[in-house]
Amino acid sequence: MALLEVRDLKTQFRTDDGIVGAVDGVSFSVDPGKTLAIVGESGCGKSVTCLTILGLNPRAKTISTGEAIFKGRNLLELPPSELRKVRGNEISMIFQDPMTSLNPVHSIGKQLREAIQLHNKEPKAAASKRALEMLKAVGIPRAETRLEDYPHQFSGGMRQRVMIAMALINNPDLLIADEPTTALDVTTQAQILKLMNDLQRDFGSAIIMITHDLGVVAETADEVLVMYAAKPAEQGTYSDIFYHAHHPYTWGLMRSLPRLAQHGQELRPIAGSPPSLLRPPPGCRFHLRCPYAMEVCRTTEPEFASVEGTDAHRAACHLDEATKKREAETLVAETMASTG
């Protein structure tokens, strides 16, 4: 029984230049205790998808359709007062830049207590105690003295740990992490990811990990959704995506990863840049950058169809099955070779 079931989610923003389709028909489900990674370039709609689920888009400018069924209710249709009870309590979200995500004029103890007291009528002492436990759980050294410190007294990695503590303090069923490590250096990134994995095990929460970094996906994901230009490109389990990729965009993403054995060789990016979401191209949105593009790709949008009959693995591409399989195998072979 899926914890969160998203069906055909679409989000549009009213702008001065027209209507921008930021998310155009995304569906996925998240099982309890599992991690779903949503991958894609900047601007592909991965953050907006999750902001839509929690109703955090600006109300006046946003049109959202579709369903996000959580515990039997469609979050997109809940009144704001009900949605507020879910946020920070049953579904939490942490964001990309820990340097600016905490209020600079309140102590972190106060902000942690706020997270608790918004949803439970706990007295200050009990809330402080719980806040302290969480700080220790996320690995803040000498947590007792740090409780009344202010955000500017913490480093970036520490602040992100505080954010994680704040998100998990009410034991949510689902944690949405929007590029939590992008703003951190690599060693801190590794620590934070390990922390999140450990906490997931201890608390039993499901995670939606939004990232553009396939390395992060490899470290954390059970299921993966690859998005491109507001639409789903490919979706499947971790091994489906890494070993049996069926979409040229996914191949391109994997090939563009720099590898140690490639030292001295040129990097292989995907040529071009993502299309405008104000006026998306006809046909397959990726066709302008796709080395495999055919005539049909320019005119007809590919169906997000299941691969080899399994509903769990889907890809939106007109290429025939044989080519896809061959490419996937070549890619795997290349990768094995280049890691020596």
Binding site: S101, Y150, M163
Partner: protein, 323 residues
């Protein structure tokens, strides 16, 4: 925190000395013979010399300054007026409450106008409210306070006879010879000056508050607060305003400090005998002790207020405390 306070206090003392030195040098170096002015037009040269001696004017400058400083620091005296031999202290202490009434009351009025309008405009940008507020701001900034004052006086005082045109009434009640006194009179005489004084500042502050609030609404920590499940009232109070109003506090302190030095234009239009009016009078009369006295007093106020604002800011913004 304590170190910060001590540092600021020491700096305030340094500033005070600097201001008094500069004031002293300027006014006692201008090409008018203070002794001659003090002695009067028909004084003989011997009388002028005697006056010069009595007023320490024949000593070297630094001695004069030190004498002035010691009078000020140890006796709290700013000297005696050349014109009427009154102590400058008494003139200042008579004028100060008038200016204080005007400025502090005006500050209350302008904040009462600016804060709600600024916040509402920021929350509903480009709405009818916002656009009319911005038009109002433009008018408030452009129209000259003297013009506004005279128009208000004319319309509400003369034509409609709603409020008194001129004059100041003591809050505590009239002394003998005073035409009015008591809280009601005080209020009715101050109402128009307050509003006219507030117009310009309210305009500036509406614009500033609107900009600050709009900027703060886009901050990441506001999004975090909403993601935690906070209702809009808490998001606004604890996260948005608590941050957006910080710079407003500094500006407010400084604006009040400067205005306390003498809100000259309003005082002249409405005939309020405050510090600004005192300063102007003393310049016309070449009354040097009074000029120096007012300058020193106003400077002390500005320095003192700035210190207060700095300390207040350190209290409300934790990022400053450890600097």
């Amino acid at each position: 925190m304590v170190r910060y306070v001590i540092r600021r206090l020491l700096w305030a003392v340094v500033l005070f000395i600097a201001v008094t030195v500069v004031t002293y040098i300027i006014f006692f170096m201008i090409p008018l013979d203070p002794a001659r002015l003090a002695a009067g037009k028909s004084a003989t040269p011997q009388e002028v010399k005697a006056v010069a001696h009595r007023l320490y004017l024949d000593r070297p400058i630094y001695q004069q300054y030190l004498h002035f400083l010691s009078q000020l620091v140890f006796h709290g005296s700013l000297g005696y007026s050349f014109n009427d031999r009154q102590s400058v202290n008494s003139s200042i202490f008579a004028a100060a409450p008038v200016t204080a009434s005007l400025v502090l009351g005006g500050a209350v009025v302008w904040m009462l106008i600016a804060v709600p309008i600024g916040i509402l405009s920021a929350l509903k940008p480009r709405s009818v409210l916002d656009r009319s507020a911005m038009v109002g701001v433009l008018c408030g900034i452009s129209a000259h306070p003297v013009w506004i004052g005279l128009m208000a006086s004319y319309i509400f005082g003369y034509k409609l006879n709603l409020l008194p045109i001129q004059g100041y009434c003591n809050l505590r009640g009239g002394a003998e010879g005073q035409p009015c006194g008591g809280p009601v009179d005080w209020f009715t005489h101050m109402l128009m000056p307050w509003i006219v004084f507030a117009v310009l500042y309210a305009a500036i502050y509406v614009r500033m508050i609107r900009a600050n609030v709009m900027e703060t609404l886009n901050e990441d920590y506001v999004r975090t607060a909403r993601a935690k499940g906070a209702p809009e009232s808490i998001v606004m109070r604890r996260h948005v305003l608590r941050n957006a109003m910080l710079p407003v506090v500094t500006m407010l302190g400084m604006d009040i400090a400067i205005a306390l030095g003498g809100a000259v234009l309003i005082e002249e239009v409405f005939g309020l005998p405050g510090l600004g009016d005192l300063a102007i009078q003393s310049v016309y009369q070449f009354d040097l002790p009074k000029i120096v006295g007012v300058t020193v007093f106003a400077s002390v106020l500005v320095i003192g207020f700035n210190l207060l604002v700095d300390l207040l800011y350190a209290w409300i913004d934790p990022r400053i405390r450890l600097a």
